[in-house]
């Protein structure tokens, strides 16, 4: 599957054209095409081994494509070594130079470009100020916390004023509160650098939703789905996208009728109405119900009989486990709402506009 807007490759900050990467015969990337527009934040999301980091490394020049082309601002850079590409990159373990101070780390790329010393000092100070590390210029990386090291790594990548910033799971080594804080900082940083294109690799869908203008969902070296966070969440195309992106309940149904944007499906003898996004669904699709989209004790037209098998308090929500026929379901209720007793028979319901039909594969 191709990423959207392939025609923008000439104006895009980055464009990959049917790039394949093989490691000793094993395919790590399989004919991947995508583009990133100036100012766009594109998130590559997927499990380990899906090829998302390989895309980033191919863009940076650390992995040579077996076939295909990589374009930077309309220029073919496939054969260029990393040092000639001028891209900023931040990796999971920060990779700060341990023998250099924070200021020397941030100025590393500027020294490599042989810039005058006053200009280097000025740009280093500005970048450290940008990431809130102005008072740490003389320290060594070992004297900084993980979050501070990550800020320095971002400042180092931005100091060379790259057109594209590549971020390879930059927050995964940090604890949850720090991760949330840095995610906010990344968003505000991007707001201050609106022309900067960002390619962000993660396996965390929360980070993907929070940061991405568009998300590319990867699977086994290929693009499995691509779209805005909302479109991927609300109308996933297939089982993989629905399950990886937001823990969907997927029920096997039989299509009975389809009229305009509404479809009638049969689940265990019950007729259910679902809004369809576009086109005609497959004859045996899956009904995708998000946990928070299901009501308990419904009186509307869409009704599913189910038995409650468990209730778990999770802070802001209560996770209710139920079984409809032979199919397990997860339901999220607000914490203040009374939960049914375990073993109770209930009627579940949903709004046709909050469910969708997805393909099996």
């Amino acid at each position: 599957m191709r990423d959207a807007d392939p025609d923008t490759s000439l104006t895009a900050s980055i464009a990959l054209d049917t790039v394949t990467v093989r490691y000793r015969g094993a395919v790590a990337l399989d004919r991947v095409s995508l583009s990133v527009a100036p100012g766009e934040v594109k998130v590559l999301l997927g499990p380990s081994g899906s090829g998302k980091s390989t895309i980033l490394r191919a863009i940076a020049g650390f992995v040579p494509p077996t076939s295909g082309r990589i374009m930077l601002a309309g220029r073919d850079v496939t054969a260029l070594p990393p040092h000639a590409r001028g891209l900023g990159m931040v990796v999971q373990n920060y990779a700060l130079f341990p023998h250099l101070t924070v200021a020397a780390n941030v100025g590393f790329g500027l020294n490599a470009r042989r810039l005058p010393k006053p200009e280097i000092a000025e740009r280093v100070a500005a970048c450290l100020d940008l990431v809130g590390m102005a008072g740490f210029a003389g320290r060594y990386p070992r004297e900084l916390s993980g979050g501070q090291q990550q800020r320095v790594a971002i400042a180092r990548a931005l100091a060379i004023r790259p057109p594209v910033l590549l971020l390879d799971e930059p927050l995964s080594a940090l604890d949850a509160p720090l991760r949330a804080g840095l995610l906010d900082e990344l968003r505000s940083l991007h707001a201050r650098l609106p022309e900067l294109a960002i390619v962000y690799v993660t396996h965390d869908q929360g980070e993907a939703i929070a940061l991405g203008d568009r998300i590319v969902l990867m699977r086994e070296g290929r693009i499995a789905a691509c779209g805005t966070p909302r479109s991927l969440y609300e109308t996933p195309e297939h089982r993989y996208a629905a399950e990886f992106f937001g823990q969907a309940n997927l029920l096997p149904v039989r299509l009975e009728a389809c009229h305009r944007d509404l479809a009638v499906v049969n689940f265990d003898g019950q007729h259910l109405t679902v809004r369809t996004a576009s086109g005609s669904p497959a004859p045996r699709p899956l009904l995708c119900l998000r946990p928070h989209a299901i009501e308990i004790g419904a009186t509307g037209p869409n009704r599913i009989a189910a038995r409650i098998t468990g209730v778990q308090w999770m802070g802001p929500v209560q996770r209710v486990q139920a079984v409809a026929g032979a199919h397990p379901l997860r339901i999220d209720l607000p914490a203040g709402q009374g939960a049914p007793a375990v073993g109770a028979m209930v009627t579940l319901g949903f709004d046709p506009g909050r469910a969708c039909l997805v393909a099996e594969a």
Binding site: P81, A84, M89, A95, F97, G109, A112, R113, R156
Partner: protein, 285 residues
Amino acid sequence: MNGTGPGAGRRWRRAITLVPFLAAVFLLLLYPLGLMITAAFRGAKGWSLAPALQVISSRVFASALGHTLRIALTATILCLLLGFVLALLLNLAPFRGAASLGRLVDAYLSFPSFLIALSLTFLYGNAGLMTALLAPLLDGSRQSASFLYGFWGVVLAEVTFYTPFVLRPLLAGFQSLDPALLEMASGLGEGPIGVVRRVVVPALLPSLLAGGGLCLLLTLNEFGIMLVMGAKNVITLPMLIYGDAVQQFNYAGASIIAVCDAGLSLAVFALYRLGITRLGAWLAS
């Protein structure tokens, strides 16, 4: 505290277990060293520095000291350069068989040094293969092509033998070098030479210091290679000691030179320890 409790008993037992170790150190190390120092500074008229000063001020001693230092420093520098280049090739441009080569280096460290000298004589000696091949390119004389018995021949043999002593700590240093650092440096715009200069060399500085220090200590006291090669024009301190003690039965003279040689080694070792300590303190600060 009356010194009779269980703690005092433990201390006594610990002290008693140390006795065999201390006796062995005394018998095998301190006693012979003491004899050597006595032989160096005690003559028929009692203790005196005069014989030592006479030996140290001689042209033979100055020449041997000069050769020792020149050969050791040159061989160490060349070992460091060659070892560093080999370590770079093995790690940054790995080739088929690189792992086997690493294991071969480990095996090589177990070889005796004179074996290398002996094998080099088959190549560069008077009747050596390379000498025969090089002779027509020089002035036709086999003797002139045989550089093995001069300064550079000894250095070649020592570099051949001691490079793995530098290579081994460098390979270990590379193991702990995060490859992401090299990629980041390259991504930030630094070319291959700049990456080596600004990232690899600082990261491997402790390994370079350890390998170089060890190599310098060993080359200062190299005897097997010198003995087998018989390089008459480059007599070093160990060869001078051997000549005085074994060939001329001048034990007093040999002892004086040996004390100087030991002092030189200790000074180098002290410098090495100081360097390592300073570097360690800087890295830990």
